[in-house]
Amino acid sequence: MKKIYLPLFVITMVVITVGILIFQSKTESEVITSKVPEIFQVILIIVLFLFGIIISYYWIRNEKHGLPADDELSIRIRRKAAAWSYYFSLYVWVGALYLSNKSNLDENIIMGAGILTTVLLFGIFSIIFNKIGHHHE
């Protein structure tokens, strides 16, 4: 597979996996649209999928112009965003552990929400660092 299609593939796999986690926790009689956490997760999955589509579009566009999909700046921004999303996700998972003890929410839903939040944090930090740039620190 070409490297440029990798973000699209990864996001699709994440969406499918998390979707399976969420829907597996439902019984046949439950209706998803009536529950706020599930609506939130579905919206989050759609947002992340669109994020992957946008990244893939830029990669494909760069390749068509004969430019690399990745260079030193994009790699450094990605590493910085990954580091920051990791640090923040530690607090997310602590919160998820607390929620799993204190609420009646299904553990699969909490796990799915935790994974999605980590990915969302990575996306947010990627956008922030793509705006403010990167200086050697």
Binding site: N62, D71, L73, S74, I132, H136
Partner: protein
Amino acid sequence: MNNKIKELRARHNLTQLELAKKVGVRRETIVFLEKGKYNPSLKLAFDISKVFNSKIEEVFLFDEESPQN
């Protein structure tokens, strides 16, 4: 660190895309360099200077040597 990439690019009649192709980076990287939002690696600085047939210190300026505008 400031630079004269935009000025030199205009002098050599190069677009951002053409310069990006010559040094092997994305066009967005050239945009960031011109706006001063990114300090390049030594290799990239060398490659850009080579495109403009200039020395590195003629293309990239430390703060105390910023051009007076």
